[in-house]
Symmetry: D2
Amino acid sequence: MGVMRIGHVSVKVMDVEAAMKHYVNVVGMDVTHRDSDGTTYLKCWDEWDKYSVVLIPSDRAMLHHIAYKVETEADLDVLGKRVRDAGVEVTEVPAGQLPFCGRSVRFRLPSAQTMYLYAQKEFLGKDVGVKNPDPWPDTKHGIGAHWLDHCLILGELDPEKGINRVEETFRLLTDALDFHLSERIMAGPNYSVMAGAFMFRSCKPHDIAIVGAPTNGFHHLSFFLDDWKDVLLAGDILSKNRTRIELLPSRHGITRGETVYFYDPSGIRNETFAGLGYQAYPDMPVITWTEDELARAIFYTSREWVESFSTAYIPV
Amino acid sequence: MGVMRIGHVSVKVMDVEAAMKHYVNVVGMDVTHRDSDGTTYLKCWDEWDKYSVVLIPSDRAMLHHIAYKVETEADLDVLGKRVRDAGVEVTEVPAGQLPFCGRSVRFRLPSAQTMYLYAQKEFLGKDVGVKNPDPWPDTKHGIGAHWLDHCLILGELDPEKGINRVEETFRLLTDALDFHLSERIMAGPNYSVMAGAFMFRSCKPHDIAIVGAPTNGFHHLSFFLDDWKDVLLAGDILSKNRTRIELLPSRHGITRGETVYFYDPSGIRNETFAGLGYQAYPDMPVITWTEDELARAIFYTSREWVESFSTAYIPV
Amino acid sequence: MGVMRIGHVSVKVMDVEAAMKHYVNVVGMDVTHRDSDGTTYLKCWDEWDKYSVVLIPSDRAMLHHIAYKVETEADLDVLGKRVRDAGVEVTEVPAGQLPFCGRSVRFRLPSAQTMYLYAQKEFLGKDVGVKNPDPWPDTKHGIGAHWLDHCLILGELDPEKGINRVEETFRLLTDALDFHLSERIMAGPNYSVMAGAFMFRSCKPHDIAIVGAPTNGFHHLSFFLDDWKDVLLAGDILSKNRTRIELLPSRHGITRGETVYFYDPSGIRNETFAGLGYQAYPDMPVITWTEDELARAIFYTSREWVESFSTAYIPV
Amino acid sequence: MGVMRIGHVSVKVMDVEAAMKHYVNVVGMDVTHRDSDGTTYLKCWDEWDKYSVVLIPSDRAMLHHIAYKVETEADLDVLGKRVRDAGVEVTEVPAGQLPFCGRSVRFRLPSAQTMYLYAQKEFLGKDVGVKNPDPWPDTKHGIGAHWLDHCLILGELDPEKGINRVEETFRLLTDALDFHLSERIMAGPNYSVMAGAFMFRSCKPHDIAIVGAPTNGFHHLSFFLDDWKDVLLAGDILSKNRTRIELLPSRHGITRGETVYFYDPSGIRNETFAGLGYQAYPDMPVITWTEDELARAIFYTSREWVESFSTAYIPV
């Protein structure tokens, strides 16, 4: 009961045709619906719900909202109340307003991202079916990502002004929505300031993460691949498509993930990553990364900070 | 809340020194405790609780019990009551009787295996620590399994006599303990008989599985590896140690797992497998394998039944 | 100068359409020519000459011939003379008789296989081209084998009758054609009988191998894959195509190769294998496998002899 | 007959103890000899000759010489004469002057590197032995490189002044030493200037490469790994040892190699790379990379030039 997983990320993009081609040809998703205004819904071959990415035509790149799926309708009421009790305004959203979904609740995280919870979305099924299925479909294309895995959001962090949206959002997600903390980044005097929080509801190292930044924002959406070999092939496919790569294949210290970062045509950062990393459970001891090891935490292989990681992100 | 994961498997072995060497040198576990009678407790480097395998000296190989860890003490009461309400006798076990654990509840599954639930076990920590950790420890040895991942038990299945312990155990695990069904094997007329059930509480394709057999039994315990390359290296290490291999590296249809099977010195079947396979959630559509595709379900790569899979197992 | 590599294998097959589908859809080759009688020529995407496999319609499966490419026209004269000097009848074959090839020389190995040497074959080019090429073509399909890598032939071995075609063919290949020995299997008293020889002209562990058998024959043709992950995917593709697999993914002791064996529709054994294994040079110390370790030599992972390896092969 | 492979690279290093630790603990070599002045000889576990890297104590990092092994003593005379006939001064070096080697010939390439050819070096054997060997030794440590694979040297290139040491060295290596060209980089008007040449004597994509630079120099020595997974693990080991990484795991366009670059403690660039890439033969069509695609040629995955590749190298 409660939040199961990330359901979808909805972003505004500047050239929706170019964006669609990217998520189809490069990431390997399929278009499952298009609105008359060009808004495009896509899913991965290993997902069963109607969509996990929504592309909305716009004149700037920005996050529209993130949405997490809960297990039952009742969860919406329970969790909505808990968010409201935490002092956050919650809007009850009727069925259908979140396209192809049942009723939902909407609120803004302390770090300003709009978040929906919903319990029901139109079912399409995995591309391999449910009867004596093959492990992967012959129609797999591009990078062939399995599923939207998680997103990383940014929270304003200014200890001198006493602002720490990272910690506030962490508190809301863990207290009201029962997310568990797997890893955290601690900064400042005696490493007492929470500068990053990686949280899970499933058993993956993270289903959502928040890291400190000068302003609230949206950092990346991440897709799952089978293993490190698929990260190499993802790199090949990115190169063939002349996609802009930000970080070459390498390992994260946080989550142990095997990763490659790149940008969609609107400059929205994508990650495709592989490796279970580890299996996270509520009783797993929380891992702490101290600020002095931050580059190693994020960029374990190189231990060198990639400058654009701090500066390139989209507003919310 | 509820069951989190498999906690340990306790088996009786015929030569405990030989068994210990196997689980240390081949599987890659570490001994964390030995009783004066030779009973040996081991953990994997990526586990944090005191042990996940117990080896009890005996004159025959058999299952002693399986144990699953629940999230809270309160879960023991709730789940114990639900098992009892399902008509199964439940014993309250005081702290310490399950070694290094808090209080627990014990009952027998319809398929006769003894199962414990416990909420607390002595904490040792992962070998990589919790502060700025490396992704793997330099002390990794042998196959270097990450963790005990799941077990597969056998339930008596004799449709003509109206006996189906597979379905009974499936009912208990799902109804009383909230396990979810990921995949099932259906046999008999119109594929109406449940001959296998793969169930999860985490988000892995299975945390426990039960398959039909002439008698109740215990089929294998399985350890997690990073990826398919580690399955190759596991094969090399098995060969160097002259360990008896039952199934060469290959893929399962069920769970998509990348696997190799072998025996410990007492003839207890081990699996080391890799590949997340897929991420299972309560709303994932259940996958059905029909009896006519059974060899492909278990042995996807070869599609040929390995005879010993049906005949070699230990009693419970 | 001298022999460069295996050029092609020409086999008689019983259902040439079925065979063609196998080598195209499963192995991943492309048809580059068909004769009016159905004889079919195929190449791999990473090969540049017109064909490496020839399928000849017939009423039984058998080897037609194997062919190796030499570096220069002059090599044909030099090597032809050396084979003749070794007491083997050599036929000068005019250009075009070996389809799409220049002149060639033909002879029978002591183990009875017909072997051609040729210096020129029609050039088609790799599928990725020669100008700023991608590492692999988007048209890759099926298993996507890189190239025909080697073949393994069988030589009659009956020490009691004083027959050892393995050693005779080994002598001819090394003495007259300058093949180098990388590994050998020694059997009989004091391991004094050569029962297998693995030989190279390139720097791969083998370009041709011969092993003892009750009769002369042809054991398998082998295609190269990138790495162990591709062996897993090859297994998946074999399973999807319901191709008969003989040996699951595993490692060879000899050559260290990572391998899977299967049959084409006429029962001709194919191997797809990966892993450089090692780089062989003329000064590499020869590796010796003794008969008592033969199962481990061939089937390193399992150390169990696969019976059909001894019994299933085609005549020459 | 002729050149077989790279034999060793001899470099001057600033802190020979630190360098030794690097090549042992990080690269995974073993020390096979030390001179009284600290000069250190190392080999990889899969090599059989006494050493492939020599570290000479010095106050600056620079190349001492590169050495290639030929097949026979007679090759030394033939090839020495051909080099001399090409107008290059050749010195006959008595046995033992090149440590643990037989007689050799020495000359300077047009690009100024000192090159030795030798036919004999003291034999030690692979760590796995030659009788029924395992595929890898239990004593493997660090990255566990298989062998020194190739080196890349730099030749002064200044078309305006009519200086092209790249082409001159290419001419000498191909004309006098029978190296074959696998790939080339063409720059300048109509891409008529040879700015890079990748050459082989074995069947690997390159045994030596030369690329244009402002001055003659030495760019890197490269070690072979099994596959892409080993590149990930190499990255982990580099990170654990706090070794400075220059290029994260990625693919080369040229050679298709899967690579990671880093520096030894003296700033000498090392590569560990995997992937056969392709099998090169004298009749393979030469691949041409045009200057406008140079970043993609070297850094296929990112297509972005790594500045230090042009600026960081050691003198010769």
